[in-house]
Amino acid sequence: MATKRFGDITGRAEAEVIARKREAMGKKEELRQEMQLSRREKRDARRAVWHERRERAMATLTRVKDGVADARRKVVYGAGAVSNVCATAKIMAGSPEYRAEIADYLADKTCDGIAALDDTWEKIHAEYTNREKALIDGAKNAWREHVEDPVNEFMADYGSAIKAGTALGVVVKGAIATAPIWAPVTVAAIPAAVTGIAAGAAVGVAGAALAGLGYGGYKLGKAAVTIGKETIEGAKQGMADLKVGASKFRKTAEGVVTQFGYALGAELEAQIANAKRRIETGKQEFTRVTAELDGMINAFPHAAKALGAEWLAGKLGEKATVASQKAETTQGIVRPALFEAEASLENGIGTRLLTLSHINRVQAAEHRAKSIGLSNNVTALRASAMQMPTMIPVEQQVQVEERIQ
């Protein structure tokens, strides 16, 4: 029985130690899993913030690129329009065969071109300087003053002159055409008058009158011829004068148009060069800003990583400090408790051993008492047996033993 109890006590002690170890290891594993889960959640949150910032930066860069590309398209379009107007002006100014038609052409086309140019430049360069606006306005006004209005006036006068010349030509031509008719009639009337004078005195005054009338007719006829000739010459001279005037006016208009065309071309070329410089500057600025943004975006993950690492290192340092302090505190608590537990365990084991020793001593004493009691009964039994009858008489037994010997 004592042996069985000792085995139970030892077994329970071992089971308790194992159970406590398992409980401690379970708590430690649970704490480790909680810390691991917390770290994973924080890491995912940081990654989400970095991803959102990167997406916003990429969206901003895309908008900037689109805006710059749109501005670039508009500038290129404006430059193309200016170039076309400039080329047209050059062609018109440098081609003599078109100078006669330049008034109508420029009056319609160039005004539209200037309006389109003005509109284009105003759209592209909303912040255009007042000086440049004034320059364009001045060009437009100069064009109207020196080209458009004189050309219109010239065209009006030229049309009237042509009409007047044409009507006068018709009259002169009619006079010239009828003059041969008038002259023979007048010449034919002269003999009739002479005949009248010679035929009759009776005719008298009538004859004389007729003669005078005939003479007058003759004179009138001659005068009519002269007038007709002079009229024809005057008409010719008038036509020549009109042509000379028209030619002079045309040359003047051509000169003005040519001069302004070159001036406009030069100004437009200057504007185009200026626009090109601005485009180049814009391109360079765009390239620089794009490179800077790309650099910022490319550097962003590294910077974020560096910041994250720095932050993480700081946090880890703080945690390490806290853990160290906790460890020291825990050590301060656990170590005495451990010593106390060890001492308690030793005392407990010692106490149990002494108890077991006491039990063994008691059992040993009991067994010795039983042995003594049994020995006393054995002595009593042997004394009784000496007095009891035997299965073979003692004398026979002695004889048998003697014979054997």
Binding site: G7, T10, E346, I349, S357, S371, G373, M388, M391
Partner: protein
């Protein structure tokens, strides 16, 4: 001594139960109790007494071992304590084995 007196004696002494049963059966089987029969029972009781002496020695030895362990516990480390406790358990197992062997020998003699 009569059979009844012998039976009462066997009932009053400290014997293992199986041995006691064997002795009762033996006494009942004897038609007339003779001195040899009583001597034989005295021998058996003496065997039992020797067995109790032997077990008492073993218990004393075990008690001494426990006392030594308790006295030396402060100087032993955990491994040594474990080893000592294991050795004590082995000693206990051997003690049980010896007791069993003694009893078997007694049974054989009976």
């Amino acid at each position: 001594m009569t059979k009844q007196q012998l039976i009462e004696l066997v009932q009053n002494v400290h014997l293992e139960e199986n041995i006691q049963g064997l002795l009762f059966a033996f006494i009942e089987s004897v038609p007339e109790l003779k001195a040899e029969h009583v001597d034989a029972i005295a021998d058996i009781l003496q065997y039992q007494a020797d067995f109790y002496d032997a077990t008492a020695d073993l218990f004393d030895a075990q008690a001494e071992e426990c006392e030594n362990l308790a006295a030396n516990m402060q100087t032993l480390n955990a491994q040594e304590q474990t080893d000592k406790l294991a050795a004590l358990k082995t000693y206990q197992d051997n003690l049980v084995a010896q007791m069993t062997k003694k009893l078997d020998e007694l049974k054989a003699k009976v």
